[in-house]
C-alpha cells in the first residue's frame, strides 16, 4: 500500500489561503488576493491529478478491484471504545473523482473571477470565502467518519451562506442567503437525527465499519436495526431517509429546493462553483458514499428514486417559464441532480446491476463541467449587458463569439446530443432506468426533451432573437462593439478549457474506473436505444428554434395555450407561497409565540426572581459591613464569646 498522505495538502492549502486572506487580505493583499488564491488552488489541482493518476493507473487496484484506502485516520473525540469522531482521508474511486471535479471547477472559477470580480471592494474577502468553500468541500469528500461528513457539511453551508450574501448591501441577497441557510439547516436537522439513529444501532460512526455491519444480513446490528420499527417503517429506513433529507436539502430536491433559485443572488462565478458543480451534488455524493447501506433497504431507495425523478420533472417544467437566465440554469441544475438521484435509486450494489450508481457518478462528473461552463458563460453575458433578464439580451453572438461557442457546446452537452459529454452519461442513466422502472424511464425521457427545449430557449434568447442588446449597446455610445468586449483573457480561458472538457470528458471510459463495487463494469452505448432520447432532444431543439430563433408570436400562442398551467409554473407552483403560509400562519403564531411567551415569562421570570431575592437580602444585611474597625472587633469578641459558651456549657 503506497503513501497517499500528500492528499492531506489538497484541502489544507485552501484552508491556509483562507486564513491568510481572511485575516490580512483587505490590508495587504487587496490587489494580489486573486493571484494568491489561484496559485494555491492550482497546486491543489495538480496534487489531485497526481493522486488520481497514482490511484487509477498505478496502485489503486488489487486483483482488478479498486480498493478503499484509508490514507489517514486521527481519532479526535473518543466517546467509547467503539464510538469516536475521527478525522481522516479516504481514498476510493468516487472520492478521487470528486477531488478532480472540485479542484478543477474551483480553479476555473478562481481564474474567471480574476476578471469578473475585478475592482470589487471586498476582492480579498471574496477569495477568502472561495478558499473556505473549497476547503470545506474537499474535507467533505475525504471524510472517513459520518460525523466528519456532518461537520464539513455545515462548513460548506456556512461558506455558501457567506457567498450568496456577498453583496450584503442588497436586501434580496441578504434574504436569499438567510433562506438558503435556514432551509438547509432544517434539512440538516434530519441529517443529524439520521446519523444518530444509524450510529446508535451500528455502534460506530466510522463509514467503513457502518457499511461492513449493515451490509451483511446476519450481523447483529443489521438484525436489530431492521427489527426495530417506528410508525410502520424499520429504523434502517428511518435513518437512511433522514440522512437523505439532509442530502435533499443540500442538493435542492423537492420539497427543499426553494433556496436554490434565490441563491442566484450571489456573484455568478459562485453560482457556477457552489450552486451548479460542487456543493449541490454533495447530497448525491452522500447517498453514493453510503450506497451499500442504501442498497440493503428497498424503501429508502424507492424514496430516493421518486424524489429525484419528481424533482427532475418539476424543475424542468419551471425552467421553461423563467426569464432570469441564472434562474433557468438553477432549475436546470436541480433537474440534473434529480437525474443523478434517481439513477442511484434504481441501482443495485455490485456487478452489472450497479449501472445506475456508475451512471449517476458519471453524470455528476460531466454535469460539473458543462454546468459550470453554462454559468460562467452566463456570467460573461451578464458582465456584458449588466442584466439577468432575457429581454435585455439577444443577438449577442456577434459581440461575444467565444462565449457563444462555449455556451452552444454546453447546451448541446446538457441536451444529450452525441458526441458531447452529457450524451454518454445521460444514456447510462436512461439505460439504468429502463431496466429497472419503466415509469421513471418515461419521466426521464420527457424531462430530457424538456431540458433540450429550455436550454435552447435560453440559448436562442441570449444569442439570436431580436437585436435589442446590440442596439442598446451601440446607442449607449459604444460605437466600437469591442470596447468592453467579452472580458479579459482570464474570463475567456476558463470558458475555453471547460468547453473542451464538455466535449471531451464523455469519452473517458468511466465505468472502468468507478462502479459500485470497485470492479470495472462493461458498458456500451446501444445505438438503437439511443435513438429515442436523441431524436426527442433534436425535436425539442427544433421546436425551440422555431419559437425563439427570431422574434415571433409562436411562443406567445404556446403560453396562451397552456394558460393557467404556465402561470403556475412561472410562479414555481406556489411552493414558496406554501412555505410562507406554513411558517407565517401556522408555525409562528401557534408554536413560536407561545414558546416566546414562556421564555420571557417563565424562564426569564425564574432567573429574575433569583436575582431580586439575592439583591433584597444583601440590601438588608449590608449595614453589618460598616467600615469601622471597632465594630469588627466587637463582632469578633462576640463570636469568641458565643463559641466559648457553646464549648463550655453545651458541648461539655
Amino acid at each position: 500500500m503506497s503513501n497517499y498522505l500528500y492528499i492531506l495538502w489538497i484541502p489544507l492549502l485552501p484552508l491556509a489561503t483562507f486564513v491568510v486572506l481572511g485575516l490580512f487580505g483587505r490590508k495587504y493583499f487587496a490587489k494580489s488576493a486573486g493571484i494568491i488564491g489561484t496559485a494555491s488552488l492550482l497546486t491543489s489541482t495538480l496534487l489531485s491529478f497526481v493522486a488520481a493518476k497514482q490511484y487509477f493507473f498505478e496502485d489503486g487496484k488489487v486483483n482488478g478491484v479498486y480498493q478503499k484506502i484509508i490514507a489517514l485516520k486521527y481519532t479526535w473525540l473518543q466517546f467509547s471504545p467503539n464510538v469516536s469522531i475521527d478525522m481522516g482521508v479516504i481514498v476510493d474511486p468516487i472520492s478521487v473523482m470528486m477531488l478532480i471535479v472540485v479542484t478543477s471547477v474551483s480553479l476555473m472559477v478562481h481564474v474567471f473571477s480574476l476578471g469578473y470580480m475585478k475592482g470589487e471592494e471586498r476582492f480579498a474577502t471574496y477569495y477568502a470565502f472561495l478558499s473556505l468553500f473549497t476547503f470545506s468541500m474537499l474535507g467533505l469528500i475525504l471524510s472517513v467518519n459520518i460525523f466528519q461528513v456532518y461537520m464539513f457539511w455545515e462548513l460548506v453551508g456556512v461558506s455558501s451562506f457567506l457567498l450568496i450574501g456577498y453583496y450584503f448591501n442588497k436586501p434580496s441577497a441578504v434574504a436569499a442567503s438567510k433562506k438558503a441557510f435556514i432551509v438547509t439547516r432544517f434539512a440538516d436537522l434530519g441529517f443529524l437525527i439520521g446519523i444518530l439513529i444509524i450510529g446508535f444501532y451500528g455502534g460506530t460512526l466510522d463509514i467503513g465499519l457502518l457499511i461492513e455491519k449493515f451490509t451483511s444480513a446476519q450481523s447483529p446490528e443489521f438484525i436489530s436495526i431492521t427489527t426495530a420499527s417506528f410508525l410502520g417503517a424499520s429504523m434502517l429506513t428511518w435513518g437512511l431517509v433522514l440522512i437523505f433529507m439532509g442530502g435533499a436539502g443540500k442538493s435542492a430536491m423537492f420539497p427543499l429546493h426553494i433556496w436554490l433559485p434565490d441563491a442566484m443572488e450571489g456573484p455568478t462565478p459562485v453560482s457556477a462553483l457552489i450552486h451548479a458543480a460542487t456543493m449541490v451534488v454533495a447530497g448525491v455524493y452522500l447517498v453514493a458514499r453510503l450506497f451499500p447501506v442504501y442498497s440493503m433497504d428497498e424503501a429508502a431507495l424507492t424514496i430516493v428514486t421518486y424524489v429525484g425523478a419528481f424533482s427532475a420533472l418539476l424543475a424542468a417544467v419551471i425552467a421553461c417559464t423563467q426569464t432570469d437566465i441564472k434562474r433557468v440554469l438553477a432549475y436546470s441544475t436541480m433537474s440534473q441532480i434529480g437525474y443523478m438521484m434517481f439513477a442511484l435509486g434504481v441501482s443495485k450494489n455490485g456487478g452489472e446491476n450497479g449501472l445506475g450508481y456508475m451512471a449517476s457518478m458519471f453524470h455528476l462528473f460531466t454535469h460539473a463541467f458543462f454546468k459550470s461552463l453554462l454559468f460562467l458563460g452566463a456570467g460573461s453575458v451578464i458582465h456584458m449587458v449588466h442584466s439577468n433578464e432575457m429581454k435585455d439580451m439577444g443577438g449577442l453572438r456577434k459581440l461575444m463569439p467565444i462565449t457563444h461557442a462555449a455556451f452552444l457546446i454546453a447546451c448541446l452537452a446538457i441536451a444529450g446530443i452525441p458526441p458531447f459529454a452529457g450524451f454518454f452519461s445521460k444514456e447510462e442513466i436512461l439505460t439504468a432506468a429502463f431496466h429497472e422502472n419503466k415509469l421513471i424511464y418515461g419521466v426521464a425521457l420527457f424531462t430530457a426533451a424538456l431540458t433540450s427545449f429550455y436550454m435552447f430557449r435560453l440559448y436562442f434568447n441570449i444569442f439570436w432573437s431580436k437585436d435589442a442588446a446590440v442596439k442598446a449597446h451601440h446607442s449607449a455610445g459604444h460605437d466600437d462593439a469591442h470596447d468592453h468586449g467579452e472580458g479579459t483573457w482570464t474570463m475567456k480561458l476558463p470558458l475555453m478549457i471547460l468547453a473542451a472538457c464538455a466535449v471531451g470528458v464523455g469519452f473517458i471510459p468511466f465505468s472502468q474506473f468507478i462502479s459500485s463495487d470497485g470492479a470495472p463494469l462493461e458498458t456500451h452505448i446501444d445505438v438503437v436505444f439511443s435513438i429515442a432520447p436523441v431524436t426527442l432532444s433534436i425535436l425539442a431543439i427544433l421546436l425551440s428554434a422555431s419559437f425563439y430563433k427570431s422574434h415571433n408570436a409562436k411562443s406567445d400562442k404556446a403560453v396562451a395555450f397552456f394558460g393557467g398551467f404556465y402561470r403556475a409554473a412561472y410562479k414555481k407552483f406556489y411552493v414558496d407561497e406554501l412555505y410562507l403560509f406554513i411558517t407565517k400562519k401556522i408555525v409562528f403564531p401557534l408554536i413560536g409565540q407561545p414558546i416566546a411567551w414562556a421564555d420571557r415569562n417563565i424562564v426569564d421570570g425564574f432567573m429574575l426572581l433569583l436575582a431580586n431575592t439575592t439583591a433584597k437580602i444583601s440590601t438588608a444585611i449590608k449595614g453589618l459591613q460598616s467600615g469601622k474597625v471597632q465594630n469588627y472587633a466587637l463582632y469578633f469578641f462576640g463570636g469568641v464569646l458565643a463559641l466559648s459558651v457553646l464549648f463550655i456549657y453545651i458541648w461539655k
Binding site: 459591613q625 467600615g627 469601622k628 474597625v629 471597632q630 472587633a633
Partner: protein, 104 residues
C-alpha cells in the same frame, strides 16, 4: 509569708484583659487602641506564667510561650506603627472614625 493563691493572680489578669477590651472598644485614637491590645496580650502572659508556676513548677513551657508572645507583640507594634504613619499621611488623622472607606 503566706503564698499568694492562684485565683488572685487570675483575677488581676482578667481585670487587665477586660480593661484592655474596654479601651479597644471605646477609644478612637489608634495608638491608644494599640496600647489596649498590649494590655490584653500582657494579661495572657500573666496567665501563662502563673499557670506554669502553680500547676507545673518543674517545667518551663509557659515561660517560653510568654517570651514568644512578647517578641510577637514587639513585631506587631512595629508593623502597627508603620501602618499608623501611613494612615496619618493619607488621612491627616489617626482617628479610626475617619478611616471608614472599606464599607459596603
Amino acid at each position: 509569708m503566706n503564698e499568694i493563691p492562684l485565683t488572685h493572680i487570675l483575677f488581676v489578669s482578667t481585670a487587665l484583659f477586660f480593661i484592655g477590651m474596654y479601651g479597644l472598644f471605646t477609644r478612637r485614637n489608634i495608638i491608644t487602641m494599640l496600647m489596649s491590645i498590649e494590655l490584653m496580650l500582657n494579661s495572657v502572659n500573666i496567665n501563662f506564667v502563673a499557670f506554669n508556676k502553680y500547676l507545673f513548677p518543674d517545667k518551663l513551657d509557659g515561660l517560653f510561650f510568654s517570651l514568644f508572645i512578647i517578641t510577637i507583640a514587639a513585631a506587631e507594634a512595629a508593623v502597627a506603627i508603620a501602618i499608623i504613619i501611613n494612615l496619618y499621611r493619607s488621612h491627616q488623622s489617626i482617628d479610626v472614625d475617619d478611616a471608614t472607606e472599606m464599607k459596603f
